[in-house]
């Protein structure tokens, strides 16, 4: 039954993701951040886990990095745990939880957006409904086109580096340079010619085709989800 329901438009999902990002920075209280972090975290993982597994790993790494940073700069207040010479205070735990929830809410909202939209629909809706300038929408479209090509370039560069006796995993600045130089050089040349090709296909003449945003049941659902989170987050203070 759910597969027959139309997905929300990219416009509504984009506005939702943007709103959650703003709330993530506006909310300071852990309870408020917990509402948006948990809702978007679970929904994002449920919808996006299959295609974007690496985001989970990134979130876990971020949480660990945040904790280490918090130990260094926010380790204040009553002591909660002691591990040998390492003292963990309330301030560090509080900062870690707050920042992790903030990251989870933003990442989760982004996962919801990307899981429910097709790249080509993103561009069309952003340009026609959100009136994003044609230069930006072209850049987004080109980035989507380019990403697998750059992945292919990266694989070929890795083979060449392996043959030339370099480490597979870049550790030093010169390792990173040896990957970036060919990637950027190839990308730059491609970009120049794609730009020329776009001009020869009349990009300068392009005018945005305006369209009224669609608002139906799926969009109402997204708006309701957003409002519910705001109400739940602000309720204790009312």
């Amino acid at each position: 039954m759910f597969s027959r329901i139309r997905k929300p438009t990219p416009t509504s999902l984009f506005i939702y993701a943007l709103a959650i990002t703003v709330l993530a920075f506006a909310f300071k209280d852990i309870r408020q951040l917990a509402v948006i972090g948990l809702v978007n975290g679970f929904l994002g993982i449920y919808l996006g886990l299959r295609r974007y597994k690496w985001i989970i790993l990134l979130l876990l790494l971020s949480a660990w990095g945040t904790f280490l940073n918090a130990l260094a700069v926010s380790n204040t207040g009553p002591t909660l745990y002691q591990f040998g010479p390492i003292t963990i205070k309330e301030g560090a735990i509080h900062a870690t939880i707050a920042i992790t929830l903030r990251l989870t809410s933003i990442a989760g909202a982004a996962l919801i957006f990307f899981a429910l939209t097709k790249p080509r629909d993103i561009i069309r809706y952003l340009e026609s409904e959100l009136r994003i300038p044609k230069g930006i929408s072209f850049a987004i479209a080109y980035a989507i086109r380019l990403f697998p090509l750059m992945q292919k370039d990266y694989r070929e560069i890795q083979i060449a580096r392996m043959e030339r006796g370099f480490r597979k995993t870049p550790l030093s600045p010169s390792d990173i340079k040896s990957i970036l130089l060919p990637l950027l050089s190839l990308g730059y040349e491609r970009a120049i010619w794609v730009g020329i090709a776009a001009e020869l296909r009349g990009f300068r003449l392009r005018e945005t085709r305006k369209r009224k945003p669609i608002f139906g049941i799926p969009e109402a659902f997204i708006l309701t989800l957003l409002l519910l989170q705001v109400i739940l987050a602000l309720a204790p203070y009312m």
Partner: protein, 489 residues
């Protein structure tokens, strides 16, 4: 109205550096013309000048007059009108295709020109169907094969039915099967009375279909060839001398003496990405010291996959590979690449440094070869030492990639389409370096190619990939297949 008329006194990219000089010509309505010349002759600069790109986008300059579809492309306001009347197909599809899917790519120009949504839908469907791409309309462009990407560039260039079409080196990196499709496309354009301008150094494929040939050399228009002169043997010989591929290659019949020492042994090898669906099965062949073996077959048949499997970058599905008697999986990584080295089709992948001299220095350091020896093998190394290897000409980058590869492995080099984009003059230079390494240093080569010149003038033996199997065939048969498919004979 003449679709194209140009009278260029001088033109160039940078001030005080002239690239084109006294280039004049005209193209009549419905004509199909070829603009040809060796690499560096100014063909692409002429294309950029007549489309207005040189002056309006690249900050170049032109002294002269140009009129294309009645528009002056040197004037910026008029330059913006060119897309309505001119379709363009650039040399490399990956440097032209900008959108995520074929549908978006073909719609792009129609959206830019203000067509209605209904008309866009109809025209795009028709164009994609014409080129056999409708089924893949909404797939990511990177899932298309090389041939499909090329067809997509055609679809997006003609969807708005422009009266003039320009094709820049359409056969670059295309196999003979793809060239046959390009020829068919050009014939269809001729029947539709589209004025077609083809810029190409491999003119042998198009002699039957063109009305006129403009020959460029060193930035000047050297000659205009029309009528019966297009087919004359004398014309072909003159054009070959300046580096234009004007006739099928002549097979070198003198057989070289090959050493009996086997350097590479492949037995019952199966390659591919899926165990249940190997790309090529039952591969068995050997390579001897100082031998050059050509590996031919259509794009996508598995030539590159075979080369990458031989160096261990991909795991074989079955079978064995032995290098100088030792199984490849028993060799340590560094030891393996001292014996066998793969040179990719795109030479830039191999470069690691910001200048040519640094590139040679790091190669010398890693391989133990002397820097002087490497400089000796690169004739322009001292002159261009401070240039970025990525800014060298394509022929120079190709040359440099082979020298780097040889520095690591003097035994076996695997070259992937090394002549792609090279005119006959540059091919001759490449042939020279390969022959030098083979005869003086005993290096063996396995060359994946669909270039008949390699088969005719370099290879000792030929292996042909067909229907998932590898066969050895003689050189004459190989040439006959490659040139026959492309309808040169």
């Amino acid at each position: 109205m003449e679709p194209l008329k140009f009278s260029i006194e001088k033109a160039g990219y940078r001030e005080n550096k002239t690239v084109l000089r006294n280039v004049c010509g005209k193209v009549n309505e419905g004509e199909t013309i070829l603009i040809t010349g060796p690499s560096g002759s100014g063909k692409t600069t002429l294309l950029l000048a007549i489309t207005g790109v040189l002056t309006n986008l690249l900050e170049g300059w032109v002294y002269g007059k140009i009129s294309i579809a009645g528009i002056n492309p040197l004037n910026f306001a008029e330059f913006t009108k060119i897309p309505k009347f001119v379709g363009t197909v650039l040399q490399d599809p990956d440097k032209q295709l900008a959108m995520p899917t074929p549908w978006d790519e073909v719609s792009f120009i129609l959206e830019n020109l203000g067509y209605s949504e209904d008309e866009i839908k109809e025209r795009v469907s028709t164009a994609l169907s014409r080129f056999g791409l409708f089924e893949k309309a909404f797939e990511h462009i990177e899932h298309l094969s090389g041939g499909e990407k090329r067809r997509l560039t055609f679809a997006s260039a003609i969807v708005h039915q422009p009266p003039i079409l320009i094709l820049d080196e359409p056969t670059a990196s295309v196999d003979p099967w793809g060239i046959r499709e390009i020829k068919r496309f050009i014939r269809e354009l001729k029947n539709e009375e589209t004025t077609t301008i083809v810029i190409e150094h491999k003119i042998k494929y198009f002699l039957d279909d063109v009305d006129k040939i403009l020959v460029m050399n060193s930035g000047k228009l050297e000659k205009v060839i029309e009528g019966e002169e297009i087919y004359s043997r004398k014309t072909a010989d003159e054009l070959i001398k300046i580096g234009i591929d004007a006739r099928p290659p002549i097979v070198e019949s003198k057989e070289r003496r090959i050493d009996s020492e086997i350097v590479l042994e492949v037995d019952s090898l199966e390659i591919g990405y899926n165990e249940n669906k190997p790309l090529i099965r039952d591969i068995s062949f050997d390579l001897r010291k100082g031998e050059i073996v050509a590996l031919i077959g259509p794009n996508g048949c598995g030539k590159t996959t075979l080369l990458k499997t031989l160096i261990g970058a991909l795991k074989p599905l079955n079978g064995t590979i032995k290098i100088q008697g030792q199984e490849i999986n028993r060799l340590k990584r560094n030891e393996r690449f001292r014996r066998i080295f793969y040179v990719p089709q795109q030479p830039d992948y191999l470069f690691l440094e910001s200048t040519l001299m640094k590139e040679l220095s790091i190669t010398a350091k890693k391989t133990g070869k002397s820097l002087e020896e490497l400089i000796g093998l690169v004739p322009w190394a001292k002159k261009l030492g401070n240039e970025s290897p990525y800014r060298l000409s394509f022929g120079q980058r190709r040359w440099l990639s082979i020298i780097i590869a040889w520095s690591y492995s003097t035994s076996i080099l695997l070259l992937d389409e090394p002549t792609s984009g090279l005119d006959y003059r540059l091919f001759t230079e490449l042939k020279e370096i390969i022959n030098t390494l083979r005869s003086r240093k005993g290096t063996s080569f396995l060359v994946a190619t669909h270039d008949p010149r390699i088969v005719a003038e370099l290879a000792d033996r030929v292996l042909f990939v067909r229907d998932g199997r590898l066969f050895e065939i003689d050189k004459w048969n190989a040439i006959s297949i490659l040139e026959g498919v492309a309808d040169v004979f």
